[in-house]
């Protein structure tokens, strides 16, 4: 009898929280990668690359979190490449790579490289490649609903089922600063289905498409730059 009395929403919390932790796992993610090479590549030991966010004042911008992720993952590992972050690069070359006036083509880069101050700084820092990242993650086909309310006793409880399809599409355009040419374009597309069933506690099964695209593109960048014989 006593056991029945103790069987309240409150006493369910402990196992539910543990169960949520165990069940919060990734949904399935499918990745497609493409590579278009325009020229041979290679990087010296004293050279670095800069990973830059392609920003547009009118269109969509890549999330800062993705730029941070790809910068970190490209620099990491045994095959990691020394990377200058977007923030550090645009500060070092201010104002030439600000969103409003940043070069949008290799021709534009060549034009501003005639400025000795820019050219000398690029050389002194050993910047060999500029990697422009563009793209974003979107959530499409959201279905179902999830409603949360305060149950008896003032405890919040959620009920329902929510699902959505997430798509992350990112591309990297790589410019060789030394030769003033575009050497290639890489892309990673990641798709996945996420769902959140909720009976009192919502249990999310989230497809981490952005994180998968980040890992895939970072590996591609390293392989592309180091893999093409100069």
């Amino acid at each position: 009898m006593k056991r029945c009395k103790d069987w309240t929403i409150s006493s369910l919390m402990f196992p539910t929280v543990i169960l949520t932790g165990l069940l919060t796992m990734q949904g399935c993610v499918q990745i497609t990668q493409e590579e278009f090479r325009e020229a041979n590549t290679g990087i010296g030991e004293d050279q670095i690359i800069a990973i830059l966010q392609r920003t547009s004042l009118t269109g969509d911008n890549t999330e800062q979190a993705f730029i941070d992720c790809i910068t970190e993952k490209t620099a990491r590992g045994r095959d990691g490449i020394d990377v200058m972050s977007n923030e550090e690069f645009i500060d070092t070359f201010y104002p030439w790579f600000e969103p409003r006036i940043a070069p949008t083509s290799v021709k534009d880069l060549e034009d501003i490289s005639h400025n000795d101050k820019i050219k000398n700084r690029m050389e002194s820092l050993g910047i060999r490649y500029l990697v422009w990242i563009d793209g974003s993650s979107t959530r499409i086909n959201q279905n179902g609903s999830l409603q949360c309310a305060f149950a008896t006793g003032g405890l919040p409880a959620c009920f329902g089922f929510l699902s959505w399809r997430a798509e992350s599409l990112y591309e990297a355009v790589i410019w060789d600063v030394e030769r003033n040419i575009s050497v290639g374009k890489l892309s990673a597309e990641s798709k996945g289905m996420s769902f959140v069933p909720a009976v009192v506690i919502p249990i999310p099964f989230v497809a981490r498409t952005q994180s998968s695209a980040c890992s895939a593109l970072a590996d591609q960048i390293k392989e592309f730059i180091e893999g093409g014989l100069d």
């Binding site: 409150s10 919390m13 929280v17 004042l57 070359f93 201010y94 104002p95 600000e98 101050k117 003032g154």
Partner: protein
């Protein structure tokens, strides 16, 4: 053991309630933004001129306030204006002097800049249905010769935006997002000021002023 489970259960209940309160609070609040922009020294060759700048009190103390849908938005812009103009004009000209008046009698300068903010627009994803927090600051910047005659004026629409996803997926940090968007707009203002002195962008009257030397 039963005691520990009870403590844990109580803790879970409290944590859930506190989280709910925070979610509700996050939903209902506007934003109070105090930007702190950092603009590096520009990588450009300065013009061989000494110019003055007068910061009107309305600019130095500029606070933008607006209220909509029972949410109040406050952006303190004044304290960052010195950084915007010191960086841009300080990089464009060999020497930049801060003036106490727009019409000084004894200042040895080639020209005097007087900036003002004539408009501010804030937009959140809730307003636009887009994924961005946006800030637009409209400046009017006048350039006078040492006699107080206007040489030219520029109207600059400085713009900054940030992606909502970088500021939380459940509880969006509106103040943080608007702060970064404001800082991006201030940086854009500085960039545009520099860009307006580009030989392809500047008007003839400004080119003529740049090519003349001061009568001492």
């Amino acid at each position: 053991m039963k005691n520990k489970a009870k403590i844990f259960n109580d803790w879970c209940v409290r944590a859930t309630c506190i989280t709910t309160v925070f979610i509700l609070w996050g939903c209902s609040s506007g934003a109070h933004v105090v930007p702190s922009v950092s603009i590096p020294d520009p990588l450009i060759d300065p013009f061989p001129k000494t110019v003055g700048i007068y910061y009107p009190p309305e600019l130095k103390e500029k606070v933008h306030e607006e209220e909509r849908a029972r949410q109040k938005y406050v952006v303190e812009l004044g304290s960052n204006q010195k950084q915007v103009f010191d960086s841009s004009l300080g990089g464009l000209f060999e020497e930049l002097v801060s003036l106490e008046s727009a019409t000084p009698e004894d200042a040895e300068v080639d020209g005097i800049f007087v900036p003002e903010i004539v408009g501010v627009i804030l937009a959140t994803p809730a307003d636009t249905g887009q994924d961005y927090y946006e800030v637009q600051i409209r400046y009017r910047i006048e350039l006078f010769d040492p006699n107080g005659d206007e040489i030219y004026y520029w109207v600059i629409n400085a713009y900054g935006k940030v992606h909502r996803r970088d500021y939380g997926s459940v509880m969006e940090r509106t103040s943080d997002a608007l702060q970064q968007a404001t800082e991006n707009a201030l940086r854009d203002a500085s960039t545009q000021i520099i860009e307006r002195f580009n030989p392809q962008s500047r008007p003839d009257v400004v080119s003529n002023w740049l090519s003349t030397s001061r009568n001492k």
